[in-house]
């Protein structure tokens, strides 16, 4: 095990930034810390780096408790959101900074920097100053600088937050490629769920200083452990109701809830692609009005309003979309093909997805 964090907490005065978080990181993992701003993910990263002292709990790196080890001695590489390059130094001297501080010999520094310049495609930029570089180049210099002294862990705080969308995509691919080549254990913080999904082997989802869920991108997407994760990752329709006679009835929709006590308030969640919509009134049992059609590039999102006034989102791929003639304002038929109950409390166990009782096969063949 590379990093272990146990009961880690951080309070700033009366504010609890991180509340008793525990997790482990395996050697060579590329781990994404995902959450909205103020969820405590950056504070966790900074505590691992030693830039922030924990109020409670322990951190181990390589089996060694590092709580009392100053940042200088933790052998970590840290990449800041706004690069934090040394503006009075050239690219070469920026990357050499850590090596010189750590008293590497001249014969060792030269080849190491040449190697990193090649790795990060920064050749021929070695004598430039940071203000002469583009945002993407600056961040690559920052990564090269962090990697130069061969840290045992690479920590990245919103590493692609300060560049535009196209460069961000490039940098993501960089990070993945870099990780594949060097296999250095890496933790990166992001508020962008798409970025976390694309880049990480495993995602930790944070909210309000709590660790909501830890799992592979597919796990957190398909089996969100909490309502927060369900809402934060991807898009989900969430309806509220109360169990009665083994089912939850919300408007004309009925969701079987066997095993849940009568009178229990529940939340029912289903992804937009589990909402099937047709322009044929007879195809599905439920009726709704088509309110909006959004073009998403790879698919369409439909917003429908049921006769009970519920707004539902549906995702339809292009091929399906072409089979229908959708028009805003028309009446459509729809069905919810899969759903799950979302736990009210963090960490509660979730039953797997189930098809609802109302799933009507096509009424007309």
């Amino acid at each position: 095990m590379k990093i272990e964090v146990k009961d880690l907490a951080k309070t700033f005065g009366p504010v609890v930034a991180v509340g008793r978080v525990s997790f482990q990181v395996e050697e060579g993992e590329l781990l994404g810390l995902l959450g909205p701003s103020g969820s405590g993910k950056t504070t966790v990263l900074r505590m691992i780096a030693g830039l922030e002292a924990p109020s409670f709990g322990d951190i181990w790196i390589d089996g060694r408790r590092v709580n009392d080890l100053p940042v200088q001695e933790r052998n970590i590489g840290f990449v800041f959101q706004h690069y934090a390059l040394f503006k009075h130094l050239t690219v070469y001297d920026n990357i050499a900074f850590g090596l010189r501080v750590k008293k590497w010999g001249r014969q060792a520094i030269g080849p190491r920097i040449a190697e990193l310049l090649t790795l990060m495609s920064l050749e021929r930029l070695d004598d430039r100053y940071p203000h002469q570089l583009s945002g993407g180049q600056r961040q690559r210099v920052a990564i090269a600088r962090a990697l130069a002294p061969r840290p045992s862990v690479l920590l990245l705080d919103e590493p692609f937050g300060a560049v535009d969308a196209k460069v961000r995509q490039e940098l993501r691919e960089w990070l993945i490629r870099l990780h594949n080549e060097l296999n250095v254990t890496s933790l990166f913080v992001t508020h962008d769920q798409e970025e976390a999904m694309e880049v990480s082997n495993r995602i930790l989802v944070f909210s309000k200083g709590r660790l909501e869920q830890s799992g592979s991108p597919a796990e957190v997407y398909e089996e969100p452990a909490t309502e927060f994760v369900a809402r934060f990752i991807g898009s989900m329709n969430i309806l509220e109701g109360v169990v009665k006679n083994g089912a939850v009835v919300i408007g004309s929709l009925e969701f079987p809830a066997s095993g849940i006590d009568d009178g229990t308030p529940v939340q029912v969640g289903f992804r937009p692609y589990y909402v099937k919509v047709s322009d044929n009134h007879m195809r599905y049992r439920q009726r709704a009005k088509l309110r909006h059609i959004y073009f998403l590039g790879v698919a369409y999102r439909l917003e429908i309003e049921t006769s009970d006034g519920l707004l539902l989102r549906s995702r339809v791929n292009k091929e399906e979309f072409r089979q229908y003639r959708f028009q805003v304002g028309q009446t459509v038929s729809y069905a919810v093909t899969q759903f799950r109950f979302l736990p009210r409390e963090a960490g509660a166990h979730l039953p797997p997805d189930r098809p609802p009782m109302t799933t009507p096969g096509p009424l007309t063949p």
Binding site: Q72, H82, A84, K87, H131
Partner: protein, 271 residues
């Protein structure tokens, strides 16, 4: 309307700046170069220059150290009374130098505790070198602090944190990261400090006693020469100080341009 406004600005500059400077130069050499040189190199004048230089160097060194520390503490530390201290920074600009000198006289004057204390150590403060340094320090204290404070706020602490993650200790962080980021602000503040130290008159006059060949700085020498009807002497020394001022002005412009460029580089990055 436009010619009138431009013309009035020119007139203003002519009367207030260009005219006096021009006239001073003309007067300095009105009796030829020989008397000018004699006045410039008489022992009293040379002593004045030396004394001014000594005070300036000490004041500059002290201000560079304490100004940097003060700016760092005021910007980065949170402590009770910080707002109060920040508000006091500009006090020397608001208080007349004569009053500043007078306050030093009250503080170190005869029969005060401080006078007794330094007297017992054999150090004469008032009407001597120490009081002149103190008076000049009072007048020049704000320059470096005022230059560094906004600069420190702009650069933030991220690059210092980056240096720490790379293994740099606190002294290395300060000398390899913080100080280089502040260098043009320091040059700018130092230039203003030097200019003011050389030119300070009121506070120094009050606390020095203006004793010939002992506590008479270059500016005091100009004043004394003038009072003694030695116009060539006053002109000559004034001309020399003026030349230094022009050199400082040129340096200031260069430093300002560099400092602005540095700030722009920094603010060009998304913050």
């Amino acid at each position: 309307m436009r010619p009138v406004m431009i013309g009035s600005v020119w007139a203003y500059f002519l009367v207030l700046l260009i005219g006096p400077v021009f006239y001073l130069v003309v007067q300095s050499f009105s009796e030829g170069i020989a008397p000018f040189w004699t006045e410039l190199t008489r022992p009293e004048a040379l002593h004045g220059f030396l004394l001014t230089a000594e005070i300036t160097v000490i004041v500059l060194v002290v201000n560079l150290c304490f100004g940097t520390v003060t700016a760092l503490v005021l910007v980065r530390q949170k402590f009770p009374g910080r707002t109060f201290l920040s508000g006091l920074i500009d006090l020397p600009f608001a208080v007349s130098p004569v009053i500043a000198g007078f306050m030093l006289i009250l503080l170190f004057g005869p029969d005060t505790i401080l006078e007794a204390f330094f007297g017992s150590l054999g150090v004469k403060v008032l009407f001597a070198f120490p009081a002149m340094v103190l008076a000049t320090l009072f007048a020049t204290f704000p320059f470096i602090v005022r230059e560094l404070t906004p600069l420190l706020q702009t650069i933030g602490t991220e690059s210092e944190e980056a240096a720490r993650t790379l293994g740099a200790g606190e002294w290395q962080v300060f000398f390899k990261v913080t100080l280089p980021a502040l260098r043009w602000g320091l040059v700018y503040g130092a230039t203003l400090t030097v200019a003011r130290s050389i030119g300070e008159f009121g506070a120094v006059l009050v606390v020095s006693g203006n004793i010939l060949l002992l506590t008479q700085t270059a500016t005091l020498h100009i004043y004394q020469s003038y009072v003694d009807f030695n116009y060539i002497g006053a002109n000559a020394v004034a001309f020399a100080l003026l030349a230094v001022s022009f050199a400082i002005l040129a340096l200031l412009e260069i430093a300002k341009a560099r400092a602005q460029a540095a700030t722009q580089q920094m603010s060009a990055d998304p913050v």
